[in-house]
């Protein structure tokens, strides 16, 4: 290994053949590395060699680069002629000959090799101690498709892809703001995966960004293949079944999170983007909530909350009722349950555990199988388990209903990693209530609740804003308030001042003969005299509005100031 490193750290030699030999020795046993030799069209006819990895480069770009190097217009060749004797031949090619948009000069072999492996093409030229890196990244990639795991009825249909640039572009296309920052770093000693940390300056708390970067920089690992590698290494409460980092395939969700003052972490080669900090409730909220009428949005959100409660507690409650507290079941129902269980040879707890496991098996099998077979699995599963097991008297029909209900409920939780964690935590609850009855249920529920309350996600309480209770943030918890009502950002944002200054929409006042355009113009110059016909109420509304606008401008000024300071800082740093 040290041999390889030694070679890598070498400077380029003036003799092209030595360089080519070194590169060849480093990249031998690689079928996909292509070597292309050419001669420059100058008087000396310097020999040049181009290296690239086939498949991760765009061949068109390579060809264009070659064209620049081999044919050249008279003006350019003159320039090359004059400078060719100088030592910085590479520089003159970069400035005078190449059309490539991001051609770089490489001084060491290491840069060149890294460039080759990243999907660029590395060019060395005889009599030059510098090489050139033409950007040629390309190759096959998946196009933007509808996200598989999170679908919406109304809302944008684009989802993240495996390409990090596409992903950041999808977000930037949504937030065209100068404050949107996409900071890059590279993680993984072998994979050299690109990581982007994105946030909106001024909205996000600076300490949060610092914390995220600090945690990311601590990571030492050879390879990162999926964002979960990072998620597990930066999360709080690493042993907890609750996930404290939100992952999503939806650019609109990331954009919304950024606007709330969160930080997004893009990882190359995976469509799943991480968002921190995450509250428990974020996992139960879908994008649909915000794209539909707020009443509908609230309703479906409640449906999901109920689904959560059902999938967490229903099996436990059923076991609790049928094996400990039968007196609580309404008599008619108790008879029905008893009649279904008449021939079942197993205790309820055992039956429940077995059925839950069978359900998980079916779900897993349906997921892993190729799609057409997956459907067959689910048909076989539902037929065998649902019908035959009941008729054979092994499982009671009620238990099938309970397990199915639990399954359906857990599917309606929009974030699948959250739905997995809920599946996990219902087992201790089930076992506790199956062995100790109500006492076990209460005790285990309390333990789970204490655990959930005690964890934090990047400094934010996991169950906020429910507990600790944040009155200002309630507008987006139980009820999704109309957009014109959500005037503030959540408390986790640094700038949680006015987010919007909308009034409740209302039809124009009929008594007032002003036209809409008049009104708008009035609003524009808020200090303009109100017309004598306008009544007092109107005036007061306008006063309020102007106040708000003033406040907003003050906020903006502050922001601008911050921004300037920051620019100053960055300049200083440079």
């Amino acid at each position: 290994m040290s041999n390889v490193e030694q070679k890598m750290n070498q400077n380029l030699s003036r003799n092209i053949d030595t360089n080519v030999k070194v590169i060849q020795s480093l990249l031998k046993q690689n079928d996909d590395v292509v070597e292309r030799t050419f001669y420059l069209p100058n008087q000396q006819g310097n020999k040049g060699t181009l290296f690239y990895v086939e498949g991760i480069v765009d061949t068109d770009k390579i060809e264009r680069a070659l064209k620049d190097l081999m044919y050249t217009s008279s003006a350019n060749s003159n320039a090359v002629q004059t400078t060719s004797t100088e030592s910085n031949l590479a520089m003159s090619i970069q400035t005078h000959m190449s059309h490539n948009s991001s051609v770089k000069v490489a001084n060491t072999l290491q840069e060149g090799i890294n460039g080759i492996l990243l999907g660029d093409c590395f060019c060395i030229i005889d009599q030059s101690e510098q090489g050139l890196i033409f950007s040629g990244k390309g190759g096959e990639k998946r196009s933007v498709e509808e996200p598989m795991a999170e679908q919406v009825v109304r809302g944008p249909r684009d989802g993240f892809t495996e390409d990090i640039r596409t992903n950041t572009a999808l977000v930037r296309r949504r937030i065209r703001d100068v404050h949107l920052k996409v900071e890059g770093l590279e993680l993984g000693t072998k994979t050299k995966t690109t990581i982007n940390v994105s946030y909106i300056n001024g909205i996000v708390k600076e300490s949060l960004v610092e914390e995220v970067k600090q945690r990311l920089n601590k990571i030492e690992i050879d390879g990162i293949l999926e964002s979960n590698y990072i998620e597990e290494m930066i999360r709080d409460a690493p042993y907890s079944p609750f996930s404290t980092v939100l992952n999503t395939e939806r650019p609109d969700k990331v954009a919304a999170a950024l606007l709330e003052g969160r930080v997004a972490i893009f990882v190359d080669n995976t469509p799943f983007v991480l968002v921190v900090p995450a509250h428990f409730w974020d996992f139960l909220q879908a994008s649909d909530d915000y794209y539909l009428n707020f009443l509908t949005g609230t309703f479906i959100r409640w449906v999901r909350y109920i689904a959560f409660i059902i999938s967490l507690t229903i099996p436990s409650i059923y076991v609790l009722l049928t094996s400990f507290h039968q007196e609580m079941i309404p008599t008619a129902l108790a008879l029905t349950i008893a009649s279904g269980r008449e021939v079942i040879p197993f205790p309820v707890l055992f039956e429940a555990l077995v059925m839950e496991i069978i359900f998980e098996l079916m779900r897993e099998a349906g997921l892993r199988m190729p799609k057409p077979i997956g459907q067959a699995v689910s048909i076989v599963g539902s037929l065998i388990i649902g019908q035959a097991a009941v008729q054979a008297g092994i499982v009671s029909p009620f238990m099938v209903i309970i397990v199915a209900l639990t399954g359906i409920s857990s599917f309606s939780i929009p974030n699948f990693s959250a739905s997995y964690s809920i599946r996990l935590i219902r087992f201790p609850l089930l076992i506790a209530s199956g062995t100790l009855g109500l006492l076990g249920f209460i005790g285990m529920f309390f333990l789970l609740a204490i655990h959930a309350v005690s964890i934090r996600s990047f400094g934010e309480s996991y169950l906020a804003p429910a507990t600790p209770f944040k009155p200002k943030d309630q507008k987006d918890l139980l009820i999704r308030f109309p957009w014109w009502h959500m005037k503030n950002r959540p408390e986790l944002a640094a700038d949680n001042g006015i987010r919007e200054a909308n009034e409740k929409p209302a039809p124009p006042d009929k008594g007032n003969s002003e036209t809409a355009s008049n009104k708008i113009s009035d609003e524009m110059n808020s200090d303009a005299n109100t017309t004598s016909t306008a009544n007092k109420k109107d005036a007061s509304v306008q006063r309020k509005k102007s106040k708000r606008i003033k406040r907003k401008t003050v906020k903006l000024k502050d922001l601008m100031k911050d921004k300037n300071d920051e620019d100053q800082k960055s300049q200083d740093n440079e």
Binding site: M328, P330, L438, L439, G443, F445, F446, I450, S461, P468
Partner: protein, 366 residues
């Protein structure tokens, strides 16, 4: 301790600390004394509790950063300070008796009569001890969930009981004169004494110092609203005679609640909510006991003491609940007199001595 809790959490702690026992066990005791005037006794006790809690706020305000232990140490010297630590630790150990009575009898008598007694105490202490390991802030947040569950429980009960409510049972008011309800209010005031003691320890941690008095009062008033519903419904639906017959009167109330003819009982769901509240109360009592003991030994952190304190308090709780008779005797006689004398003693002594030793505070502050 740098940890701070918000005023809202503080109110939630107050509500959880007083709720569980007051709605049933206490009401049974009061009903045995004053019949249908239960709710009047409840009001009287609440008013006296308000006065006491204001007094507590006054005391802590003198040295806003120090709890009762530190204050008494600064004021009266280390030995008296340690004595007060000991007294408060004993108080919380004693308070575990009634708390355990409430928890164990609710679950054991009505749901799991065949389960062994130690299991209930064991689980209570285990869960409580686990909870306080995370510190006061987590429990304070849990208390908010507790309040939420109390709300649900009350709502469920009202749904099921209002149909059978008969206002005639509440009349006539002051059936037994005025003195008797005042005397009977001692049972409820004993519940409040736990809150007062908790405030002496927790108040310095509360965020907004200006609002201490108001938050305390609002907390008491909210607790009162949640609690007073029970004696009124118990009288109106069950009649005071029935209430007085039961050890856990609120369970009888919950048992008789029904939604139409189909859901003829659903007390299990109410108890599930109730459980969250009372487990929070257990956790807070354990926490206060541990803090008191850690101050007694001069430790900086209370966590090493969780297990011994849990054992002591759990053991005492087990000793109390081992028989109904025994439990009732302790609950209605010795607990009431001991808790009230300790609370009034500590609060009164510290308050009065504070006037003579004002200089000490100033020197401490400087």
């Amino acid at each position: 301790m740098k940890i701070k809790i918000t005023n809202g959490m503080y109110m939630a702690l107050i509500i959880n600390m007083v709720y569980a026992k007051s709605i049933g066990v206490t009401q049974g005791s009061i009903a045995r004394d004053v019949g249908s005037d239960m709710w009047i006794s409840t009001i009287i006790a609440t008013v006296s509790a308000m006065l006491l809690i204001l007094l507590t706020v006054m005391i802590i305000r003198r040295m806003p950063k120090a709890d009762i232990f530190d204050q008494s140490k600064a004021m009266l010297g280390p030995w008296v300070g340690k004595l007060i630590c000991l007294v408060i630790f004993i108080f919380f150990t004693l308070s575990f008796g009634p708390i355990m009575v409430t928890f164990v009898f609710h679950l054991k008598d009505f749901f799991l009569p065949e389960a062994p007694l130690f299991l209930f105490v064991f689980i209570a202490v285990l869960v409580g001890g686990f909870a306080i390991y995370f510190g006061i802030e987590v429990i304070a947040r849990m208390a908010l969930i507790g309040v939420f569950s109390i709300l649900l429980l009350n709502g469920l009960l009202i749904l099921g009981a209002l149909e059978d409510f008969d206002v005639r049972e509440l009349l006539p008011v002051f059936e037994f004169g005025i003195t008797k309800p005042v005397i009977a209010s001692r049972h409820h005031l004993a519940d409040w004494s736990i809150v007062i003691m908790m405030c002496l320890i927790i108040l310095p941690l509360v965020d907004n110092q200006k609002e201490w008095g108001r938050s305390s009062l609002v907390g008491v008033i909210f607790s009162f609203i949640f609690i007073v519903m029970w004696p009124i419904l118990e009288t109106g639906v069950l009649t005071s005679q029935v209430t007085s017959q039961y050890l856990i009167a609120c369970m009888q109330m919950a048992r008789s609640a029904h939604l139409g003819f189909f859901l003829h009982r659903y007390e299990m769901f109410m108890i599930a909510f109730f459980g969250i509240s009372i487990l929070t109360q257990i956790a807070i009592a354990l926490l206060c006991g541990s803090v008191a003991l850690s101050k007694l030994f001069g430790l900086k952190d209370f966590r090493p003491l969780i297990i011994p304190v849990s054992l002591i308090m759990g053991g005492y709780g087990y000793w109390v609940v081992q028989s109904h008779n025994h439990a009732m005797d302790i609950l209605e006689n010795s607990w009431v007199s001991l808790s009230l004398s300790i609370t009034l003693g500590v609060v009164g002594v510290v308050w009065i001595l504070g006037f003579f030793l004002k200089k000490k505070f100033k020197s401490e502050k400087g």
